[in-house]
Symmetry: C2
Subunit: 428 residues, 2 copies
Amino acid sequence: MERCALGLIGWGTVGGGVVDILTRDAALFRERCGLDLYLKTIVTRTPARDRGQKPASATITDRVDVLLNDPDIRTVIHLVGGTTAAKDLCVACLKAGKHIVTANKALLAEHGDELFALAAKHQVTIAFEAAVAGGIPIIAALRDGLVANRIEGIYAILNGTCNYILTRMTEDGKDYGAALTEAQELGYAEADPTLDVNGTDTAHKLAILARIAFHGRIPLAELRCEGIDKLTAQDIESARTMGACIKLLAVAKPSTRGLELRVAPTLIPIDHPLASVNKNYNGIYVHGSAAGPTLLVGQGAGALPTASAVLADVVDVCTGRYLATASRFQFFTSAHAVPLLPESDEVTSSYARFIVADKPGVLAGITGLLSKQGVSVLNIHQGTPNQSGQALIEVSTHPLKSADFFAAIHAIDQSGLTLKPTVTLRRL
Amino acid sequence: MERCALGLIGWGTVGGGVVDILTRDAALFRERCGLDLYLKTIVTRTPARDRGQKPASATITDRVDVLLNDPDIRTVIHLVGGTTAAKDLCVACLKAGKHIVTANKALLAEHGDELFALAAKHQVTIAFEAAVAGGIPIIAALRDGLVANRIEGIYAILNGTCNYILTRMTEDGKDYGAALTEAQELGYAEADPTLDVNGTDTAHKLAILARIAFHGRIPLAELRCEGIDKLTAQDIESARTMGACIKLLAVAKPSTRGLELRVAPTLIPIDHPLASVNKNYNGIYVHGSAAGPTLLVGQGAGALPTASAVLADVVDVCTGRYLATASRFQFFTSAHAVPLLPESDEVTSSYARFIVADKPGVLAGITGLLSKQGVSVLNIHQGTPNQSGQALIEVSTHPLKSADFFAAIHAIDQSGLTLKPTVTLRRL
C-alpha cells in the first residue's frame, strides 16, 4: 500500500469537504486503487479556528514553508481563491517541485499559460477537474473520453448561482432581486455575487473548456461576456411565450473563420436537454464529431461535489497518470492562440421584443424591415395591448449573422415603429 | 512524435468506425496528445470484401498470427462479437503480450475474472470503455471521476434498441411488435434482437458497471433480468396515467445486506431526468456520496460513438496511463464477490394494475388488502369501466419490501376481487 502525503492550502468550504472525505472515506481509496491518502500539512491563515473537523495526523499551520520544505509532500491541494496570493502560492509550490491540484478557475483562465509552463519546467503538473462544474468530471471527459472527436460545439450551464436565480425567476415569476436574495439565504449565492451574476465566473470556466477542446491558448480578454443581472421578469415571461426558458449559457463553437466564444443569457427551447437543467445544477452539452451529442449534468459547486473532483485529481496525480497526461497533451503548453470569431460574424438564432403602439401597419412595418435585412422569422407573437395602448411584438429568428440581425433591429428602432429601444437576446 | 502501430480484429460496424476516424482524423491525435496512431494490421474473416474504406498502410488478412507475431503491435482493438471465438482471440492476444481494447460486454461480463487475471499475468491490460454506453465515457467517470465517492445508486438506460422501441410505443401508442419492426427498419434493432429486448445486453453492461462501482466480482447468474418483450400498449398507457413513462432500467443499489442488482422495465416519473432520455440514447444516473447525483446522456451504440470510446481507450493504453490504472484498481482482479440482495429483500416502489368488475366494494376491498399487508399507496387511479363492466384500478406504492408487495398482490388475486392476474411493474 502506497502512502501518499498530501498538503492542503486553504481550509474553507471546499477544503472542509476534502478533509471530510479523507477523514471518513480514506478506506475507499485504499480498497479501490491501493492508495493510502492522508493530509500531512494544512496551511491556513487561521490555524486556531475551530472548524469541528479533526484531520488525524495533520499539522495545521499558517506557515507555507512547512509544506514547501517537506519532501514527503509531493502533491498540494490548492484551494485559495483570487488570483494574487493564490498565484504566488501556486508558483511557490511548483518551484518546490510539488504537483498542484486546484479548484481556482480564475487563476487558470488568467494565468494558465504561465503556470502550465512553469509546471512543465519543474516536471510537475497542475490538475484542475474541480475548476469547472464541480463534481461533474467534464475536464476528463473532454480531454480523454472525447479525445477522438473534433469538438463541434460546447453549450454549457456552468454557474449554479445564476442557474438557481433563473430557475426561481422562471418557476415563481420572482424578479431578479428577490431571486438573488433567496439564493443568498439558501447559500446558493455569496454575499457579494458580482463575479457569478455578471458572467465572469462562467467565462473563466468556458475559457478552460475551450483550451482543452481546441487545444490552444484562449485570449480571455476577447471572450464576450454578459451576465444575468440585467434580466427582468418580463424577459423570463417572454421566453416562456416563445416556448423557451432563459439560461446563462456558455458557448464555444468552432468555424473555419474562428472560434465563436461567449457567455450570455440565452433562450433555450424547452425541449432541449439543457432546458431541464435547473436549480443549482450545472450541465454541459458537447457535440463531438464521433460521439455525437453528450450531456453531463450534476452539482457544479459546494463542498463535497468540488472535493469529489479534487480527490479524483489527487488519485490521478498520485498514480502517475496525470504526469503522463500533462507531458503529452498539447493544450497545457500550446503556443498556438485560438483565433476568436468577431461578434458580427457569429451565426446564431436571436430573439427580439419590440414595444410598439397598437395601431395598423406596425406589425407589417416591422416584419417588412426584418425581411428587408434578410432576417428569417422562426416564430412571432403579439400580445393583447395594455391599457396605454402599448403592445409587445416578440420574434425568434432562424440562425443568421449577428451583424445582419443587429442592423435590422437598428433600422426598426430608427424607423419610429418602436416606442422604446428593442430588447434582444440570444437563442439556442 | 511517437508512432503507435495498432492491430484490429473484426472489421464490422464499429471496426468501420475506427477505420473512419483513424483515416480522417489521425491529425487530431498527433495535435492533441502527440500520438501518431495507425492501423498496421486488420484481421477479418473476409479480407477481400469491399467496404469502401482504404486504411492507408494497413495489411488486411484473415490470419491472426500476422498480428500476434508482430512485436511492433502492442495494442489490439478487439471487435469480435460473441463469447467463443471472441474469447479465444482475446486470450491469444493477451498471451502474446498485447494490450486489448474491446467493446464486447458479454465477453467481459461472463469471462472478465479469467481475462483480467490473464492480462495481469502477462503485464498487459484490457480496456473496455466502449463496452458500456458507447460514446458516453461512463467507465472512466465511474472509475476515476467518482473515485472519491461511495456509489449509493446507479440507475441506467443502457440499451438503445429497447429505448427506441419504448419511445416509439410511448409517442405513437404503437404496440411492441410494430415499434420493433420500425426500429429494425431504421437500423436501431438487429434482425435477431433477442439479446437486446430480453434484457441480456443491459444485464451484461450493468454487471460491468457494478464491478467498477462496488469493486468486486459480480455473480452474473444471480443478476435478475427482465426484458421489454412482454410489454403491451396498455402498460405504456397505464404509465402515462400514473405520471410516468416506462424505461428498461438497470439498477445497482448497495445496502448493508447486499447489492440490489436488476434489469427490469420500470416506471420512471416524468419529471425524473432519465424520463427525458429518449430514442436510441443511453443515460446513466449515478448517486455518489460526495458528488451527489450525476447524469450522463449520449449515443450508446453505433459505429462512430462506439469507435470514439474505443479510440479513447487506445490513447489511454498508448500513453501508458491505462497500465497504471489496471495495475492499481482492485476491481480488475478482486477475489471479493459482491453479495447480491435476494429479490424478496429489495425495497422499491411498485406499480400494480388490477382488472376488476365495476361493482361496489371492490375498491375498498383492494385498498383494504393493500393496507393490511402494509402497502402504502403513493397514488391510485380508477378509470371509467369498459362496455363489459370491467374497470382498471391502478396503484403506485411508496417504497416497501418486494416480499410484502407481492404478498399483497397474491392475497388480492386469491380474494376473488380481480378478474385476471394482476400486472405489476417496478417504479423508480
